[in-house]
């Protein structure tokens, strides 16, 4: 879980993560991305392992640090999720079930497949970013910006991810395409609380994300 200044909610998110799924033990790893509000301490108190960036690098860099930490822990399945309470930790089980039973390389939790409670503006923005992801990376998925994903160790080992910012989600989709990995999108709830909406994604982040993806496209030309 990449986290930046989430001390207010992170404990409640970690406490709802199941400790075991299908006989596999679950270890919560929080990557504190240079928080200044005691996120790392709150996460540690709740029982998570915490990797701490000295300064804020961005959600992409924090996710990549989390992947490296998972490799160090020899994790068989790696699940990423937001730390602001937008994702329901109890749904980790359904992502992992789907990955194991369907023998998929990747399972993506899609908010678009279960859009109840999702603001219309967010749905529109996601569809636009799905389209840009397709143009840049050549793959259409229902929720390219989902931070709620499960991936097998082997599949993660084949991915070459390097984005520091929000474009990591689209790059992840691109790597599924590049490596011809099997994947499935499963519906997940999007919990838009007043807290998560207040923190949310500023409009400028969306612009930065689009610019980053277009830069990627230009570099390839």
């Amino acid at each position: 879980m990449p986290a930046h200044n989430e001390a207010g909610v992170i404990s409640s998110v970690i406490s709802r993560i199941p400790s075991e799924i299908d006989g596999m033990s679950v270890t919560a790893v929080v990557v504190d991305d240079g928080s200044t509000d005691g996120t790392a301490e709150a996460a540690r108190r709740s029982g998570a392992l915490v990797v701490r960036h000295l300064t804020n690098l961005g959600v992409g860099a924090a996710t990549l640090t989390g992947f490296r930490a998972a490799r160090m822990l020899n994790a068989d399945i790696i699940v990423t999720m937001d730390s602001d309470g937008q994702h329901d930790p109890e749904e980790i089980s359904s992502l992992v079930h789907c990955l194991v039973e369907g023998q998929f390389d990747v399972v993506i939790g899609s908010r678009i497949l279960s859009p109840e409670g999702m603001p219309l503006s967010r749905i529109g923005a996601n569809l636009l970013l799905n389209a840009i992801t397709f143009v840049v990376y050549g793959k259409v998925v229902s929720d390219s910006q989902s931070g709620f994903k499960a991936v097998s160790r082997d599949a993660l080992g084949r991915m070459k991810l390097k984005s520091s910012g929000y474009e990591i989600c689209s790059e992840f989709i691109g790597e599924i395409h590049r490596n011809n990995l099997s994947y499935k999108s499963v519906p997940v709830k999007a919990l838009y609380t007043r807290y998560s909406q207040r923190k949310g994604q500023p409009f400028l982040n969306g612009i930065n994300l689009i610019l980053a993806m277009l830069t990627r496209l230009l570099r390839r030309v």
Partner: protein
């Protein structure tokens, strides 16, 4: 009216740039050579903005006429674009190195035992 706006804008920008350069020079974050280069550059820009006829005098002196003006602006634009590209590449390299360093440091820590 537009000419006045351009003049005010140029002087304001130059004042900000030179004062920032001076502050950095005083804080020993910038060498005296760099401070002089930036000051000279901005003073030149302000002089051209305040007295555009300078350009005509230079062109007349060099004997290249109006056609030469376009060449000078064209070269200037190419130079600026080249500088932007160089800065972009360097910034990206610095950001990449910084990210790697912070990630390595974070994972060198005894994070696996901190529960």
């Amino acid at each position: 009216m537009l000419a006045v706006i351009v003049k005010v804008f140029s002087v304001a920008l130059a004042a900000i740039a030179i004062s920032k350069s001076y502050v950095d020079f005083r804080a020993r974050m910038e060498s005296v050579q760099m401070f002089l280069v930036w000051t000279l550059t901005w003073v030149t820009i302000v002089l051209v903005a305040l007295f555009p006829s300078i350009v005509d005098i230079i062109l007349e002196y060099s004997g290249s006429g109006r056609a030469g003006l376009g060449t000078i602006f064209g070269m200037g634009l190419v130079f600026v674009l080249f500088m932007v590209y160089r800065i972009y590449v360097k910034l990206e390299r610095v950001e990449k190195n910084l990210t790697k360093m912070i990630q390595d440091l974070a994972l060198k820590d005894d994070w696996m035992t901190k529960t």
